[in-house]
Symmetry: none
Subunit: 411 residues, 2 copies
């Protein structure tokens, strides 16, 4: 599988507010023709570092793409550094200068003298036309190695790459497809999960498997490489099924969907309506469910009963339950779910009460203690959770646990 | 000015959908203590490239920071590559292993065997404690050169860097101080805003001013450079006051605070309680308010009355109002706010009803039509908004408008 590196050039990309996004688009295009991006660099208008970055990348990888630094100012050093990095000269092209002058004239301007440097190409490089700006790009391509210099503005870079680089690359780096599939898992720790599934996935060189730990769940990402999309899909599917077989109900999505989408679809399929009563999560579960377009088809309503009064008045939680067990208890969670279901007239109700922190923890119920309550026509129960993390994370994990509770009951 | 390079580690960061954002935060912190970021790299779980990236960076720059790859799985290779890159060994630390076992035990788990690798440090490195996860970081610091390995998850990385790396660095690298201050503005378009304030800020070379357009508001960012923090602060303050003077009530924060924090504090200060009734935002306003620690001091409760039934049963919205004006109307928004305030017994109530899309729009009320209702002891009113954007953006902007409505009434 051919390898690529992408180098974004520009001091502004090294400030706290700017990201290089060109490389994301380039990565998706390269993946489609079976080229894997192995490293990305962001470097400022710094000749030594830029030359070194290009030269190192060129040694390691089949394809090196730079974006930015092809303009007419003194900061625009990519042409010179690119040439030096691969041991070539810059060559002046009279016809490029004429074209440039022509472009400026078409807009009623005289070409400023400094734009003259845009008429230089790396010795032996092919010019990449730029209908949307003054900077042409270039591609130096010999012995299976390519160095491609593209302009920074996306509306110049993208068509140049699609129209003039991709066709050449697709022909030469022919025919592999790289396809990703994500399994999403909940209710297992990262190392526990890896212990269970590593004996399976380490036996496969293709797809390659990596496990990513996000805020609430673990994603098992499979990346298959094959001659066709169908073949890559079937490679991914085969391993995905083996992994899912070992993990059982803990896998909530075979294709990267978030929990709220999965739960929403299950409710719709089974024709069940849901209502949600939340305390410490403050509306997060409702918010997540209503992120899903069409949520009015399964969500009847939600109550954020933050105070004890609200728990009693809205949901009919008995004051005795609150007095003898506390607002954060299995009894209160169950009473919230039962009351929510009755007052909303839903098939299913789920509730959350807990201590998200930073304050409010006690010895018996430290920060992170959360109860999830559940009620439907047949059963009422609750689960006690002890969730690690800060306020934000405890709340998020609580919401995930509540949604997962509904999911497992619907299975 | 000392130079730094940042290396983000993880194959997932080389996919089309994932960006390294840790480096943006790190850059802002490093700039504050006068360290300039000269190069950034994203590298996969690829030992040869990672070792080379660290070793090259270490040769070129005073400070090298890596994020990610400190977990317990086979993919987690930063420890080993970091050690090799600077020609050191990894050393096992019994006391780290004991701590790890203890952490797992506290959550009721046995430590899986593979977490053992997290008890290794680069020879001569100082341990950086991680109260929020299993992976400790490390800092190897000699002869004015530092290699710092941090975990990838931001909530682990950030406190580790702030508490254990910055203090050391700030002492050693004493150069100029670069300080940012953010004014957050709502209810004005970007070009309108620039028209008003550019005559002011263009007269200042220091601080430098930039306006950033985010999902819901405009941030006016001032960046002062000075010899001391106090001096930089006073430069920023002077310009900030001039700008705020011109913009008036549209500035909701002088220091980058989000709207929900500002509203929460105002409610606490005035001793007023709030209740929230939401339809299309589905709990987002309650969720945002309860993001703020101590929100139980000002938020009594929230209702997500998604269906018409819920609007009637929970909030007493008259069926005639719904029938004659529709669920998305000024009359319904006001009835929701009044009903919410009465049933919750709060001082203030705010409501939202609207069409977030993608479906549900009509000619008279297209997607993006949102009504915000308000009720307190003295007044009841509503505002009609027409918000651009997709479902997510319409919901977010609605929540911002509702919170801003409460803010302006409290002023």
């Amino acid at each position: 599988m051919p390898s690529a590196e992408i180098i974004a050039v520009g001091t502004e990309l090294l400030t706290p507010d700017k990201s290089d996004t060109n490389s994301l688009w380039l990565t998706s295009k390269l993946n489609e023709i079976g080229v894997e991006v192995k490293l990305k660099t962001v470097v400022g208008d710094d000749p030594l570092r830029l030359e070194e970055a290009i030269s190192d990348a060129y040694k390691r990888s089949d394809l090196v793409i730079t974006t930015g630094g092809l303009g007419p100012t003194e900061d625009d050093i990519t042409r010179a550094c690119g040439a030096a990095a691969i041991g070539k000269e810059l060559v002046f092209h009279e016809e490029l200068l004429e074209e440039l002058k022509h472009k400026f004239k078409a807009f009623g301007y005289e070409m400023p003298e400094r734009n003259r440097q845009q008429a230089y190409l790396i010795e032996g490089a092919k010019v990449l036309p730029n209908p949307n700006g003054s900077a042409v790009g270039m591609m130096h391509y010999t012995g299976g190695k390519a160095l491609v210099l593209l302009p920074g503005p996306p509306r110049e870079m993208k068509p140049m790459f699609s129209d003039h680089v991709l066709p050449t690359m697709a022909e030469d780096f022919d025919g592999v497809v790289v396809l990703r599939q994500s399994l999403r898992v909940t209710g297992l720790g990262e190392s526990k999960l890896d212990e269970i599934i590593s004996p399976i996935y380490t036996a496969f060189k293709n797809p390659v498997t990596s496990t990513l730990f996000s805020r609430t769940d673990i994603e098992v990402q499979l990346t298959a490489t094959a001659a066709t999309k169908e073949e890559a899909e079937s490679l991914n599917n085969e391993l995905a099924k083996k992994i899912a077989g070992k993990l059982g109900d803990s896998v909530f999505s075979m294709n990267g969907e978030p929990m709220e989408v999965v739960v929403g679809r299950m409710l719709l399929e089974k024709g069940k309506s849901l209502a949600v009563a939340e305390s410490c999560t403050g509306g997060l579960v409702s918010k997540r469910l209503t992120d899903v377009p069409g949520s009015s088809g399964f969500l009847l309503e939600g109550c954020v009963t933050y105070s004890n009064n609200a728990k009693m008045a809205r949901l009919g939680v008995p004051s005795m339950t609150l007095d003898s067990h506390g607002a954060v208890s299995a009894e209160t969670a169950e009473a919230m779910a039962v009351g929510m279901r009755e007052t909303a007239g839903s098939d299913v109700a789920v509730s959350i009460t807990g201590i998200a922190g930073p304050g409010g923890g006690t010895e018996g119920k430290p920060v992170g203690t959360v109860f999830v309550g559940y009620a439907d026509t047949e059963s009422v129960f609750s689960k006690r959770l002890h969730l690690p993390g800060d306020r934000n994370l405890v709340r998020w994990r609580s919401s995930q646990a509540a949604l997962d509770c509904v999911r497992r009951q619907l299975l």
